[in-house]
């Protein structure tokens, strides 16, 4: 037994087989869980929560997500928390009672190509459920150069502004209804983090002391936490004050593969809860000599029309649809679309960068709302071209037995589930082909 190869061979020769009787019994349990899950998804009408999520056309995905989270929180607080003195669901409930708070944020981003400590941003955030959010950050790049940024999210004024004093520039966005309505529920970092953790597999890190405070830590590396995220898989840790049940610190490590390993480590700490807030703190002033690159941008409503417009712009520029709506491939395709060109017609048609980015961002946001709203969306851009009038490009559920479908030629129809099944059989990636 001298070489590593021998060890590998030994591992290979070690075998585990399964006995058929217990094997069938185990699979039976798994199958029952699967069928219960499928049944739960398809049985309508459901309890009041299910109806609200699936049927009300006015239901915003954010609100639907909150209800799911609350159900999850209830179940998890009953059965998931054995041995832990702090229930994560209680923490969420406590944060939801808070109306104002501040925290400090620190983000370190390292790339293999960068020497030294990478790019480091530090800042403070002030959040008020009545007024919105204000964040100021300072970023120091690997060359030691410093830049500043101020961000205001003001739901009452339907405005998001980013000001960069070092560049004397700003960018202003007019928020859509969904963004305004979901702000109160989704803006706060700690609570959105905990909402996501609650529906994932998470574990306790046990008790410890941070800055003299007794805390209990929680961690998740569940792939479901970062599922559908373009930002890579996350390792998330949150430490909670065992007395107040409010977060004391959180750490998020995200590792992405972009020409090597890019590590982003984000720490939130020094939380102050229910701090007095002066409305004047949320008033911003843009000096006269500041300029804006893309003008005022109206964030489109996350609707079918927005999605169709996004598809149209993408197809017009690329001659095809994006292979997917998020992730590395999508951003590479988008990057190629935004590359400078000498095509005069194109430059006239899309004079501003936002003429391209806004509809496409609207399309991606719409798709995300379908995922978050669990509307059973499926996207087939990899196989469908703008000429395919009868192939399903994007579909999502609109009622118990009906789906809305955007076809390759971008016309939309509502079809029965059975009809959709037939339509999807025509796709080149269909199992029937």
């Amino acid at each position: 037994m001298n070489s590593a190869d021998n060890m590998k061979r030994l591992f290979k020769s070690a075998v585990v087989r399964t006995r058929s009787a217990p094997d069938e019994a185990v699979f039976e349990n798994v199958r029952k869980a699967y069928e219960r899950n499928i049944e739960d998804k398809s049985t309508q009408p459901k309890p009041i929560f299910g109806r609200f999520i699936m049927r009300s056309p006015k239901t915003k995905p954010a609100a639907a997500a909150i209800i799911l989270v609350l159900i999850g929180a209830l179940i998890l607080s009953l059965c998931h928390d054995g041995g832990s003195s702090v229930a994560l669901a209680d923490v969420l409930a406590k944060i939801e009672q808070i109306t104002t708070y501040t925290y400090e944020i620190s983000i370190t981003r390292t790339r293999p190509s960068q020497s030294g400590t990478g790019t480091k941003s530090t800042g403070t955030a002030l959040i008020s459920r009545d007024h919105g959010m204000k964040m100021t950050t300072e970023t120091i790049d690997p060359n030691g150069e410093s830049t500043n940024q101020e961000i205001y999210v003001l739901p009452q004024k339907r405005t998001l502004v980013m000001i960069e004093p070092h560049k004397k520039s700003y960018q202003r966005y007019k928020l859509n209804d969904t963004m305004v309505e979901s702000f109160a529920e989704q803006s706060s970092d700690p609570s959105s983090m905990i909402k996501k953790m609650l529906v994932c597999e998470y574990s306790s890190l046990g008790q410890s002391v941070i800055d003299g405070i007794s805390v209990e830590g929680f961690q998740t590396t569940d792939p479901a936490y970062s599922e559908n995220s373009a930002f890579g898989q996350a390792d998330v840790k949150v430490w909670v004050d065992v007395k107040t049940r409010l977060p004391v610190r959180s750490e998020t490590l995200v590792i992405r593969e972009i020409d090597g390993e890019v590590r982003t480590h984000r720490v939130l700490d020094n939380f102050q809860w229910n701090v007095p807030v002066d409305a004047a703190e949320f008033e911003f002033e843009i000096p006269d000599d500041y300029t804006t690159r893309m003008g005022d941008i109206t964030v489109p409503a996350y609707t079918e029309e927005t999605a169709i417009k996004g598809f149209a712009v993408f197809a017009d520029l690329a001659g095809k649809y994006p292979a997917n709506l998020g992730g590395k491939t999508f951003f590479k395709e988008l990057e190629a679309l935004l590359a400078p060109t000498k095509d005069r017609k194109r430059n006239e048609k899309y004079a501003k960068l936002s003429d391209v980015t806004t509809p496409i961002a609207g399309l991606v946001a719409f798709y995300q709302t379908l995922i978050q709203g669990k509307k059973d969306p499926a996207y087939h851009g990899e196989f469908v071209t703008p000429e395919d009038a009868d192939l399903v490009l994007l579909r999502w559920k609109v009622s118990d037995n009906e789906y809305r479908v955007i076809f390759g030629d971008r016309h939309a129809e509502t079809v029965a589930a059975e009809a959709l099944e037939e339509l999807e059989k025509k796709l080149p990636n269909s199992e029937s082909n």
């Binding site: 590593a4 060890m7 070690a14 585990v16 798994v30 899950n37 479901a224 599922e227 559908n228 390792d235």
Partner: protein
């Protein structure tokens, strides 16, 4: 890989045969991994069953582009870590070593059947620290690169490689002494 993508697609659409295929394809490897990590056949059977049940319950959350093998491996690791933490909280005196080596367990209703090499190897693995067991199992059994293991253990690649080296060294000497007995 393409086969797995198709399986996921069918699985997400409610196809029970797809679930069966996923189960048959991965149960053996997952049991082996869990036994290496826990050193306990009974506990490993529970862990693997739990993981498949969790998979069955989360078919709508699983992305079509997910790597199902990595998903299952990550679930196994998370589940075992959670059990270890709970166990350590309740029994502080407990060390990394499991109480009973695998070779001494034999139940009539046992799901997993281990060959002689598996018994020897899993018993020897119980002499290593949990972190070493994790690195060696993920490297040699799951075939993960060190970079990915480093990510899972939240340690540098150097640390993980060190754990692997020392672990293999110890395992080799344990297996040698077993042979010379």
């Amino acid at each position: 890989m393409l086969e797995d993508k198709l399986l996921i697609l069918r699985f997400k659409r409610g196809d029970c045969d797809a679930l069966r295929q996923i189960y048959d394809k991965y149960k053996g490897d997952l049991l082996k991994l869990a036994i290496f990590l826990t050193g306990d056949v009974c506990q490993s059977e529970d862990v693997v069953q739990d993981v498949f049940v969790k998979l069955a319950q989360s078919c709508d959350r699983l992305g079509v582009r997910s790597n199902i093998r990595n998903y299952l491996i990550t679930c196994i690791i998370n589940r075992i870590r959670t059990l270890r933490r709970d166990h350590q909280r309740h029994e502080k005196k407990e060390r990394d070593r499991p109480a009973i080596p695998t070779s001494q367990i034999s139940r009539p209703d046992q799901w997993a059947v281990l060959n002689e090499q598996m018994h020897q190897l899993s018993d020897a693995m119980t002499e290593l620290s949990f972190e070493q067991r994790e690195v060696i199992s993920l490297r040699l059994e799951a075939g993960l690169p060190f970079r990915q293991i480093a990510k899972i253990q939240n340690r540098s690649v150097n640390t993980v490689e060190g754990r692997y080296r020392y672990g293999i060294e110890k395992l080799r000497s344990l297996m040698n002494s077993e042979v010379t007995k």
